[in-house]
């Protein structure tokens, strides 16, 4: 890892430039879409996910994840699906969200089942790294910091720090986490489905704020266009391949902190390769829950997450928020 960390500025810039070219794709479409395809957002739901108790049942969670992956990649076996995500030899990062502690963070169990499937797909433990903004966040969410290089690593950005260079796109100028730029070849994004008091909602797109050194600067104007712009930074756009939103427990008000009175056992995973579509679908789920509970919509409260639409616009093309272009698959 030390060698990897010593990559110099020129290498970093080359990677960014390459990322920019790849990210641009052809015809302005995200790399995973062709002109004919709709973008899939799979909602895997398991009413009995918790079994008899309150804690998640790992076997059922794994089956739920398998169903989602098979549906997303249109394969008969989960293994085939995972082989399309990453190849042996690549270092795969799992970007979790541990900000709110155990109550409403990416569940450790979900990270574990993803790691299990990655290993079955040929990614050795040493090439899997679970990461988030801070070691303290990871610990509070129940992850154990681990830096041994022959095992699955788990570390916050404070361990490896940030790039010296600014990465710039649109309204954003940030230093990216070295874990992302210098360690990971591919990233699986594992956000949480929850409300955000400033940015409206926080799911796939917003979770990438954990990859920059100055997220506190980008919550103005309900995060628009900052959230979209952060996701345009080449290392993010190039490396994030899959989004698995943890909606086993979801929160429709009071986020990003854990507010148990506003959470519900959603017992779902939202899985997509399109962060915009995933966020759009997740947002609608939160709005539906808010309506059920007699709460005002985020729009009425002045915190509709318009950054989702910005992420889909002609300048960003990070995915689609057009319902007619989103294929919602329930499994």
């Amino acid at each position: 890892m030390r060698q990897r960390l010593e990559s110099n500025r020129r290498e970093f810039l080359k990677k960014c430039a390459a990322g920019a070219m790849l990210a641009g794709g052809t015809h302005g479409l995200p790399a995973f879409l062709t002109a004919q395809e709709k973008t899939k957002v799979v909602n895997a739901h398991e009413p009995l996910l918790r079994g008899a108790g309150a804690s998640l049942d790992s076997g059922r969670l794994l089956k739920m994840l398998d169903r989602a992956m098979q549906a997303l990649y249109a394969t008969d076996s989960p293994l085939e699906a995972w082989k399309k995500v990453a190849k042996p030899g690549e270092v795969v990062g799992l970007k979790v969200n541990g900000l709110a502690g155990r109550g409403i963070s990416t569940s450790v169990l979900l990270a574990e089942v993803v790691c299990a499937r990655l290993q079955e797909a040929g990614i050795p433990q040493k090439d899997i790294i679970i990461w988030d903004r801070l070691n303290a966040d990871l610990e509070s969410a129940g992850f154990r910091n681990a830096t041994r290089q022959d095992r699955i690593r788990c570390l916050g950005n404070d361990t490896l720090g940030y790039e010296e260079e600014l990465a710039i796109y649109g309204s954003v100028g940030s230093c990216l986490a070295r874990t992302l730029t210098q360690v990971c070849d591919a990233v699986i994004n594992l956000p949480v489905l929850k409300d955000h008091g400033i940015a409206g909602v926080t799911m796939a797109l917003k979770n990438m704020f954990g990859a920059i050194h100055n997220p506190n600067k980008y919550h103005l104007n309900v995060g628009d266009p900052y959230v979209a712009d952060v996701n345009m930074l080449p290392p993010i756009r190039q490396k994030v391949r899959l989004h698995i939103c943890d909606a086993t427990t979801a929160q429709y008000e009071g986020g990003p902190s854990y507010m148990p009175q506003w959470t519900w056992p959603c017992n779902s995973l939202l899985v997509s390769r399109d962060p915009v579509a995933l966020d759009f679908v997740g947002w609608q789920m939160l709005e539906q829950k808010r309506a059920e509970k007699g709460m005002k919509s985020l729009r009425a409260l002045g915190r509709a997450p318009d950054y989702i639409a910005t992420a889909a616009d002609a300048n960003h093309r990070l995915g689609t928020n057009d319902p007619s272009q989103i294929e919602k698959v329930g499994v």
């Binding site: 500025r9 404070d158 010296e164 260079e165 600014l166 008091g197 103005l220 930074l233 902190s257």
Partner: protein, 423 residues
């Protein structure tokens, strides 16, 4: 898409004789005191941030025996251990508690509402369990001895030195920020040293600095430290001067004005549009703050960084000058400063000299008595002229005072009082 910082590009903006260019002339982090250390580095491609990290160690420690007497040994550097160092964490003085463990910061007009375990826009104040804390009390990430003219304060003890300190963090995000390395970072992301108020005052005294300057980043975000340090300084006869954007609420400002001796405000433009788009702040509260400073008798000077095409119209210069004259008085010094491409504003050229001269001409014509041009070493508009007889009363070359022709605050030629703090 990814850009390098300006220092990386080899822009020779900085030299060791304080005739540097760039916004650096208006309180950029000095490079001169660490040049010797830097030259020993084998690699040639250190960027600005790496430069600062590397440079800060020799600067803050090696200088103990050479240029900064009494400087304490450098604390352990960045990292989570430092982040949790309780020495730096003090409950904020201006905030209110809200339901569900939220807090609302009442220090700056932004009034961030912060969830538990989250930070405000400044990045240096954090909600912990429903109480709000500054994380940067005594947590100094930059310290240098500068001429007071570098702040710039031209009418405040000219020719004296200011022991200048900063912590990480800022409550705005100017696209032209010259010190973004520290201002746009969290304290854990920069190298810090523990320097409690009494030690700061003591170090300033030992280094023959009659003033402490709170500068480089944005002192408002380390408000509690600044006030405590100012009090400690006054106990030793050391004054305190503040270099700020002036984006602060009235109540904390009024208390601050009781503690400090001079404030230089970066009035970044005279339009809300610019403040919104370029500064990520608001003009109105800044103007209100400046008026309060004057009313409370704190010596105040203004800097206006002239950015080509963005805040350089005749109308804006004129409106600015008229507002100053009407609301502050003609004797408040106004420094028009030259912009150089920095940070997120790399697509614009340096301010043409003609633009600066046009700005000065307009402000002069509106009746302001002391209008200067900054970041223009050697320009005659760096001198102070008597508003009555028009002779030079303070002659400067860069930040160096060459000659003074003042007696007890009056022009020695015509006895016209020259506004300022001259002792």
């Amino acid at each position: 898409m990814t850009k390098s910082s300006n220092a990386r590009k080899g822009e020779a903006n900085f030299s060791s004789d304080d005739t540097r260019r760039g916004q650096g002339a208006n309180d950029a982090l000095p490079r001169d005191s660490v040049l010797a250390s830097l030259s020993r580095l084998e690699a040639t491609e250190h960027d600005r941030r790496a430069f600062l990290k590397l440079a800060s160690v020799p600067c803050l420690t090696a200088c103990v025996g050479s240029c900064m007497a009494g400087w304490p040994s450098l604390a352990q550097g960045a990292g989570s251990a430092a982040a949790e160092d309780s020495r730096f964490i003090v409950e904020a003085q201006f905030y209110e508690k809200l339901p569900y463990k939220k807090t609302r910061c009442k220090l700056c007009p932004r009034e961030c509402v912060i969830d538990d375990r989250e930070r405000g826009y400044c990045g240096v104040r954090e909600n912990r369990g429903g109480s709000y804390y500054t994380l940067v009390h005594s947590r100094v990430c930059a310290a240098h001895i500068d001429p007071i003219e570098k702040k710039p304060l031209f009418h405040f003890s000219p020719g004296s030195l200011a022991f200048s300190v900063a912590t990480a963090g800022c409550n705005v995000n100017c696209k032209f920020c010259q010190n973004w390395d520290i201002s746009q970072s969290r304290p854990e992301q920069v190298r810090n040293t523990y320097l409690p108020p009494k030690d700061l005052a003591s170090v300033a005294q030992q280094n023959h600095c009659p003033a402490i300057a709170y500068t480089y980043s944005e002192p408002v975000v380390f408000y509690e430290y600044m006030r405590d340090a100012a009090e400690a300084g006054h106990a030793l006869g050391i004054k305190s001067v503040v270099v700020s954007g002036g984006f602060i609420q009235q109540e904390p400002l009024k208390k601050l004005c009781q503690s400090v001796d001079a404030i230089k405000v970066d009035l970044k433009a005279f339009s809300e549009k610019y403040y919104k788009e370029v500064v990520n702040g608001e003009l109105k509260p800044v103007l209100e703050a400046i008026v309060t400073m004057r009313k409370l008798g704190v010596w105040t000077e203004l800097v206006y960084l002239v950015v080509p095409t963005l805040n350089d119209s005749d109308a804006e210069f004129r409106a600015l000058a008229q507002w100053i004259k009407s609301n502050l008085g003609a004797e408040v010094p106004l420094h028009f400063s030259r912009f150089y491409p920095q940070y997120l504003l790399n697509n614009l050229p340096p301010t043409p000299m003609e633009t600066l001269e046009r700005a000065k001409a307009i402000a002069d014509a509106e009746g302001l008595h002391y209008v200067y041009l900054g970041n223009t070493p050697g320009n005659a508009a760096e001198n102070t002229y008597c508003p009555k007889c028009r002779r030079i009363v303070v002659e400067r070359i860069g930040f160096t005072v060459k000659e003074m022709h003042l007696r007890k605050g009056k022009c020695e030629y015509c006895q016209q009082p020259i506004a300022g703090v001259w002792q």
